[in-house]
């Protein structure tokens, strides 16, 4: 009940982050594409432009929707111009949507005062001016590149020691102990991590912290971190500016380890392997859309901007991927440019409703229905002046 109270408090404070009580929201549900009266009208004014960017975790999916040649591209009746920037991270998404550079900023963490994810110059009170919707569901994986070795099993403790420089070679006894029968080469480990604010780093360190009872990522006061972080102890390291750069380096460097969004592994078959991680019951599982989806189902009943994490929460549940997360879209509640604002909300409505059927092909999991409903409720609160921008068919 505490969650419901906090939701109520949030609503009273005017914060517009979506709070979804799974299974209990009766929203303006409507299926996409029937063209019936009352459906969302996806047509937008001519000449609208949409600048989006941020999270490289969710970039594979949003660039898929903004790319006119892809099967699942958002196709409103009028031609629109998309400006997408996939060479950044979540911090960029939050900073530039509050600065106004992006109409929609993508971030793996919503903006939240207590989580330290407020961009410079934004205050807790300003949150009421933004709508934050969980718009996609995906998983991160621990990726590695080691010639001749696949299906490697890694425990959170081993990963922590690798990142802290305690384990420096692939044929370390602790790795060998987890992988009986696998011939591990005597090769130095190149530890890749993100060198700036990153939602994927947050997900990764959150997982390590929870799986090792907070003794990560480095030393006594180690905690979840999103930035370059406390010093990782490892010294043979490579800094990466985004998921794409991470994928690039992993794919090209034999002996490397890193963490990245699942679809980047799918896009580099044979070059990047995903390590098997332990589920809550201690069984090693390989990432799949099924067990990422299971994470969402098994997670806590509530997601909101301050309680959205589904990592490792499905305690005791088997076959649940430990590194799954919702990823968020952030936009201003009051759009100064009506045409662009209309395009933004309609694009997001498409992305969270009709577009979700393309999620699987891009390495993501379709949103649960309750989240879809809540997203639409939230998007309906986006206005330009007094005009609601998510219009319905007459």
């Amino acid at each position: 009940m505490k969650n419901i109270r906090s939701v109520a408090a949030r609503a009273a404070a005017g914060a517009a982050a979506v709070s979804v009580l799974l299974g209990s929201v009766a929203g303006a549900a409507a299926t996409q594409g029937s063209g019936a009266k009352g459906d969302i009208d996806l047509a937008v004014p001519a000449g609208a432009t949409l600048a989006v960017g941020g999270s490289s975790f969710s970039a594979p999916l949003y660039t898929y929707f903004t790319t006119s040649s892809s099967a699942g591209a958002y196709k409103p009746t009028h031609s629109v111009t998309f400006g997408t920037d996939s060479a950044a991270g979540s911090g960029d998404g939050r900073t530039k949507v509050t600065a106004g550079t992006y109409t929609i900023g993508f971030s793996d963490q919503p903006m939240d005062a207590t989580a330290g994810t407020l961009p410079t110059g934004t205050h807790a009170g300003d949150l009421a001016n933004y709508v934050q919707v969980p718009w996609a569901l995906g998983g991160a994986v621990v990726g590695y590149h080691l010639a001749g070795v696949s299906n490697l099993k890694l425990s959170a403790s081993v990963i922590t020691q690798i990142y802290n420089g305690k384990i420096t070679s692939w044929n370390d006894d602790q790795i060998a102990a987890l992988n009986h029968g696998v011939t591990l080469p005597n090769k130095t480990i190149l530890v890749c991590y993100r060198n700036a604010s990153s939602g994927t780093t947050y997900l990764f360190t959150d997982y390590l912290a929870k799986a090792t009872q907070g003794r990560t990522p480095s030393g006594a006061s180690g905690s979840v971190m999103e930035g370059t972080g406390k010093l990782w102890g490892a010294t043979n390291v490579s800094g990466e500016s985004n998921n794409a750069a991470m994928a690039n380096d992993l794919a090209n460097t034999d002996g490397s380890i890193g963490y990245l969004e699942y679809s980047y592994v799918l896009a580099n078959p044979g070059k990047i392997q995903a390590a098997k991680l332990q589920d809550a019951a201690g069984t090693y599982i390989a990432p799949s859309l099924t067990n990422i989806a299971a994470a969402a189902t098994a997670a806590a009943k509530t997601i909101s901007a301050s309680n959205f994490s589904i990592t490792y929460l499905a305690s005791g549940k088997t076959a649940v991927w430990p590194l799954a997360t919702y990823t968020w879209a952030i936009l201003a509640k009051n759009q100064t440019n009506a045409a662009n604002g209309e395009l933004a909300v309609k694009f997001l409505d498409y992305a969270t409703q009709g577009g979700q059927k393309f999620a699987g092909a891009n390495g993501f999991v379709a949103l649960p229905t309750a989240v879809q409903k809540a997203d639409r409720v939230a998007l309906l609160t986006v206005k330009s002046g007094t005009k609601v921008l998510l219009t319905q068919k007459a």
Partner: protein, 332 residues
């Protein structure tokens, strides 16, 4: 005086000739023309002081929060708000000095040799062509050198050079078996390539300006060609060469884009040239877009302040030294 590089050094290297009796024309009356110039100049002075002031004041909160450990500490740790953030610039300062130092050593050795060869060994007809080419190369933007480094050199280090190092006897012990493509050394080498044309453009002129009589006198006394160059030409041009060095060094200090692409941008205590690291300028560019919270931007401005002080100190030092050497040269 037709290219940017020579123009830049000119004030330090060869002060415009002051002619006696050419007094400021404004002593009698100040018309609108005079006033316009004065207003524009004041405006520029104001901008310059505002420039220094804004970077200084913007960085104050970071010094206030971190104290001196901002300079002497290591780490870049914005927190989730539950604990105070911790920022330390030592990695970036060392990275800046390390990359610039390696780069300037390469550039000065190769650049001086190149300038001597251009002036004394190259046929006169080729000389102007080469000179023009060098000056054009000096104008290539640093981002171009950066993409060459990251798209051509880094993969080469990764796939060819790194494995070769590891295959050397004892190589595995020293270098490990998995080198990242990016490294401080790679950044330094690209920096060297980048500042080389800048250095050569000036040192070529400096060496070309050494009076021919001196060279001929030295040769006629039986000195070999190299003795002449080493004992006569280089000492005569040392003031100018020093100016060229400090200008090239200044460029290496402040280089942002190439280093940000090539050094890896990581904050750590392993300063091995083959390890990844970062520099002050590169770190600002890497972090700026992603900076969150109220304390990260001031800390980045503090990095800017340190960089500014380093570059100003360099510029003052070189002006002083050049002036002193010039005085000494005139006295002798």
């Amino acid at each position: 005086m037709a290219d940017a590089t020579t123009t830049i050094t000119a004030p330090a290297d060869q002060p415009a000739v002051r002619v006696e009796g050419r007094k400021c024309p404004s002593t009698r009356s100040r018309g609108p023309y005079e006033w316009t110039l004065i207003v524009l100049s004041t405006l520029f002075a104001a901008i310059a002081f505002w420039f220094v002031g804004s970077i200084f004041f913007k960085s104050l909160p970071a010094f206030h929060q971190q104290g001196l450990s901002l300079i002497t500490g290591v780490g870049w740790n914005p927190t989730d708000g539950t604990a105070p953030s911790q920022y330390g610039l030592l990695t970036m300062i060392i990275g800046t000095v390390e990359t610039s130092a390696i780069a300037i050593i390469f550039a000065v050795i190769i650049g001086t040799g190149t300038s001597l060869a251009i002036n004394f060994f190259l046929p006169a007809r080729l000389r102007t062509v080469v000179a023009t080419m060098v000056e054009l190369l000096a104008a290539i933007p640093s981002v171009v050198y950066g993409i060459w480094g990251i798209l051509v050199l880094a993969p080469w280090v990764l796939n060819t050079f790194g494995p070769w190092l590891s295959s050397l006897p004892g190589g595995t012990a020293v270098f490990g078996t998995t080198l990242a493509g990016k490294s401080l050394l790679l950044a330094a080498i690209v920096l060297a390539v980048m500042i080389l044309p800048t250095y050569v453009a000036i040192s070529r002129e400096v060496i070309g300006a050494v009076p021919h009589e001196l060279v001929e006198a030295s040769l006629s006394l039986g000195a070999t060609k190299w003795q002449t160059l080493w004992r006569t030409v280089l000492p005569t041009g040392r003031i100018g060469l020093f100016g060229a060095t400090s200008l090239a060094l200044g460029r290496a200090f402040g280089e942002t884009i190439a280093v940000s692409l090539l050094a890896g941008g990581v904050v750590q205590t392993n300063y091995h040239p083959l390890a990844e690291g970062t520099s002050l300028a590169a770190f600002i560019a890497n972090q700026f877009g992603e900076a969150q919270g109220s304390d990260q931007i001031p800390a980045l401005f503090a990095a800017g302040l340190v960089l500014m002080l380093m570059s100003f100190a360099m510029s003052i030092l070189s002006t002083r030294l050049v002036a002193r050497q010039r005085k000494a040269a005139m006295a002798s």
